[in-house]
Chain length 157, copies 4
């Protein structure tokens, strides 16, 4: 059974909702899914999962410092996340620039860990983006992200 | 009088509309503004302008090949665009990923030329993004981009 | 047997050498590997491969227009590359900015196609970067990229 | 007299050295230059400078969480940094991916604040990158970054 971590930072609750939706999608595949705030995740724990999905608000075109802190600290286990599957999503208070670069920043960190990421030819290609609370379009995308990520993890594990 | 070039590639006419709107904004400052399709711009001509605004559809998260061709060929004048002002905008057939990375790709090319670029704390921060035909929000942003770019060029020339 | 395409644009021959090295790595896995210049690849042909590796010189922080043209034209088969594996590499005439953004631009286009990409926790994390002719470090990385990409394609196909 | 802030996070001292070099370049223009660690900078203080230069180590393709924290907190003064000049630099423990994306991440945050940034047609185009301690090439680039940034601030203020 594939283990999946959905971890997020959320200030307004929107990113948290996206995390819950992502976890629902992952569970549909039969995966063992944990949902945690980033400050509850110990860096060494990242090694325990076949897939890691990270969500953050968009803060100046980047993930929140709290999310970056987890990546910074993950350095102590560099090389041990090789071949795991990663995915990212973001929420934003306004339409405007910075959502895509936030998602890409998370995916880039995962690539530097040697992780595997996948885009989506439909919807928000790099990862789901919600403007304020997730509407039905975003809800569907978050669930799909969870499902696809868990499925890919099952294939490569 | 500051000379401004607005150059674009457009397939459906949406990027062309954005270019026209940008040129209107630039003209409000009293600048001498030319609007040209990218295939009408000779690389050596880029040296004649104090500001260069480039627009493209979003094709797979990047500007169209026709826009990239102009940058590729601009290499023959590398170093001669130092200190000029640049700006970018994009249109897209669908909501979804790739608009921001398209704008950033153009801005990055401008930075490599030693050019000066400016964001906007309101609206589409890196540069205007239109989903299909420019609506009133986007129209305003395109005009503002033209105006701000011409004003900045007047300051640094 | 997994089919792998290595396609590239090369002006000075350096990117071509990287492509050859990548193909050698892929062949070590027993994959059926084709190496083609981008202008020899028909968009519909992309559907035939389980993995697609794309190489380009770094031109103003982006791939060459010839590489972008292939992605632009691949739109006619949008959705049909879902789940394939992708990878990228670049060569550059000088040290300096733009190599990483070139590799990321190719990977972003692949993500928009719904493709799967993988980083490397060692070496050039997003994809191999050669300054001028590939030295022994880069040669090793290109072969490893080919091998890893073909292996991943075998796992997910 | 133009006021310039050089702020940085440094673990090994390399980014700090780059900050010092940048401040030397800025001072050559007659600017009033402060050098501070990011944790010494109050968000409201950012309004006091005509130019802000930010340096960080490369951590997983992004600036350190400490640097991101300053940007996150700067939200309370959103809009008030419009038209200021920004620049970025990074140091890294190894050659490999992530340096450029780190510099671009800082520049993107500055663009979202409506700030003005400039590339360099020579050297590290987006901003200086040092592998370990800054060598003579990087030292020169850091000083030049400081000088150019202060000069641009003088022009647009």
């Amino acid at each position: 059974m594939v283990k999946v971590l959905v971890t997020y930072f959320s200030e307004t609750g929107n990113t948290e909702k996206m995390a819950t939706l992502g976890s629902e999608g992952a569970r549909q595949t039969g995966a063992d899914v944990r949902v945690k705030r980033v400050d509850e995740v110990k860096p060494e724990e990242l090694r325990d999962y076949a897939a890691i999905i990270v969500g953050s608000p968009t803060y100046y075109g980047s993930p929140a410092a709290q999310v970056r802190k987890l990546f910074d600290e993950s350095f102590s286990h560099h090389g041990q996340l090789e071949g795991k599957v990663g995915a990212a999503f973001t929420s934003s208070a306004n339409i405007g620039g910075g959502n895509e670069t936030t998602v890409m920043s998370i995916l880039q960190s995962m690539l530097i860990h040697g992780m595997i990421v996948r885009g989506n030819s439909k919807g928000d290609h790099y990862g789901p983006v919600s403007i304020n609370a997730p509407d039905s379009r975003v809800q569907k995308q978050c669930r799909e992200l969870g499902r696809r990520t868990a499925e890919l993890a099952a294939q490569v594990t």
